[in-house]
């Protein structure tokens, strides 16, 4: 049982990461990640939506006829996104002004309906919750990493506009890495997002290949995996 949970976690964070492996939800991912804070904001909103929608779908999975399950999932996801949007407008208004359109676009993030259909409609509430959490964290990690890359190269800072999220007391978090940096517009514009995501996917694949060759080169006497097919 424990192994199953570990597999869910590994899937979401690494081996089946929604952004790097499933390549889902790219529209908001590419458009919003011009800074760390933007990435973090959209990441948290997506994470909340994913967890809530997975739990809701899992709760009703035995009661909904297969014919209408997709429309019902869409209704649930749209309602959750609207709620998340309203809450953001009420409590993180400045950040909402920046992320604006992309919050409601979370509804169309395929990663969310994909998890509802592929996982939550077939698994227990707790497993679905865990899956939503891990997939959401995996997505969030990519958003923040990409945001950091683009912000650093494009503007020479990290965590700029932190006050939009954490209030005025958080202004000190902003790090100016390179003083008097002219900026590199390409990194901030959409092409920078595509190039950055490409580099991230390539880096992940390279790392995987290295790990695999290491495992293959391990001494023959050592067992490779403890319990296959857990």
């Amino acid at each position: 049982m424990n192994d199953a949970y570990r597999k869910i976690a590994m899937d979401g964070l690494w081996s089946n990461n929604p952004a790097l492996v499933q390549i889902l939800g790219l529209c908001p991912l590419l458009a919003v990640t011009s800074t760390v804070i933007n990435g973090l904001g959209l990441g948290i909103a997506t994470l909340a939506t994913l967890v809530l929608s997975n739990v809701a779908v899992s709760l009703i999975r035995d009661y909904v006829n297969p014919e209408i399950r997709i429309p019902v999932f869409v209704i649930i996801i749209a309602a959750i996104v609207t709620v998340v949007e309203l809450i953001m407008q009420a409590y993180f208004y400045d950040l909402y002004l920046i992320l604006g359109l992309f919050i409601s676009l979370i509804t169309t993030n395929c990663a969310i309906i994909a998890r509802a259909e592929a996982f939550a409609s077939k698994n227990t509430v707790f497993k679905s919750f865990l899956d939503g959490l891990m997939m959401g964290l995996g997505f969030l990690a990519v958003l923040v990493t990409l945001g950091a890359m683009r912000e650093l190269i494009g503007r020479g800072t990290l965590l700029a506009d932190a006050h939009l999220m954490f209030g005025d007391t958080a202004r000190w978090i902003t790090i100016t890495v390179i003083d008097d940096y002219r900026g590199f517009l390409l990194a901030v514009l959409p092409p920078g997002a595509f190039i950055g995501l490409g580099l991230l996917i390539a880096a992940k694949n390279a790392l995987n290949a290295r790990l695999e060759s290491k495992t293959a080169a391990a001494p023959l006497g050592e067992p490779l995996t403890s319990t296959p097919g857990a």
């Binding site: 709620v83 809450i87 002004l97």
Partner: protein, 214 residues
């Protein structure tokens, strides 16, 4: 049998729609006051960036008037005008205006016009335009909105009150013409409204609490 199954399925879908709508309405009802307060605060900050506090001595935020003109101001609902005065003399009026024909719905604007009909400044306070393309109307993203400063009904003339693509004097953005076009039109219409109603706009110099519920 089939009919019963279909009816059941349809009712179930309807039930989910009702539940989802109820949840959204409840959250909306709970958060609405806070959201309205947030918008109000943002407007206050914007007002002072258009009409500096040194230029007026009245209570700008509360010296308001509600005006309705669907044709020129872009909304069927009453819109708020903030009136700046100094020693009782009118200084400028700040209109909340809707540009109804943005690329992605209505764009909310503040248009500040001096008493002599010259624009003090324009700010976009709410929009859903495409990030990276249409959002250059935001003062944080580009200084495009400053191109309205100092303009009036006669500067440029009617022909000039368009984006360059349509033969006017205002820049459009690469990949986004509809957004600046909508704003240029809305600003021009507010000037027209102001010139036709200037005295009404500044009438009633003592602010009364009755007007604040706009």
């Amino acid at each position: 049998m089939l009919f019963r199954h279909m009816t059941f399925t349809a009712l179930m879908l309807g039930a989910f729609a009702i539940i989802a709508t109820t949840v959204v309405s409840l959250v909306n009802w709970q958060t609405q006051p806070r959201i309205a307060e947030n918008e109000r605060r943002a407007i206050m900050e914007n007002l002072n960036s258009l009409v500096p506090a040194t230029q007026y001595d009245n209570d700008l935020v509360n010296d308001t008037l509600a005006v309705t003109d669907p044709l020129l101001l872009g909304s069927k609902k009453p819109l708020t005008v903030y009136r700046a005065r100094r020693n009782g003399q009118p200084v400028a009026a700040v209109f909340t205006v809707i540009a109804p024909d943005g690329y992605n719905g209505a764009i909310k604007l503040l248009v500040a016009i001096h008493y002599d009909g010259i624009i003090a400044g324009v700010r976009v306070v709410g929009h859903k335009e495409t990030p990276g393309l249409g959002d250059a109307i935001d003062v944080d993203r580009s200084d495009w909105v400053f191109s309205f400063n100092g303009r009036s009904l006669s500067n440029p003339t009617v022909k000039g009150w368009h984006v360059k693509k349509d033969g006017g004097v205002f820049d459009q953005f690469t990949g986004a013409t509809i957004t600046p076009r909508a704003i240029v039109k809305a600003v021009y219409n507010s000037l027209k409204y102001f010139s036709a109603h200037r005295d009404q706009v500044f009438a009633n110099p003592t602010p009364t609490t009755a007007e604040e519920d706009s």
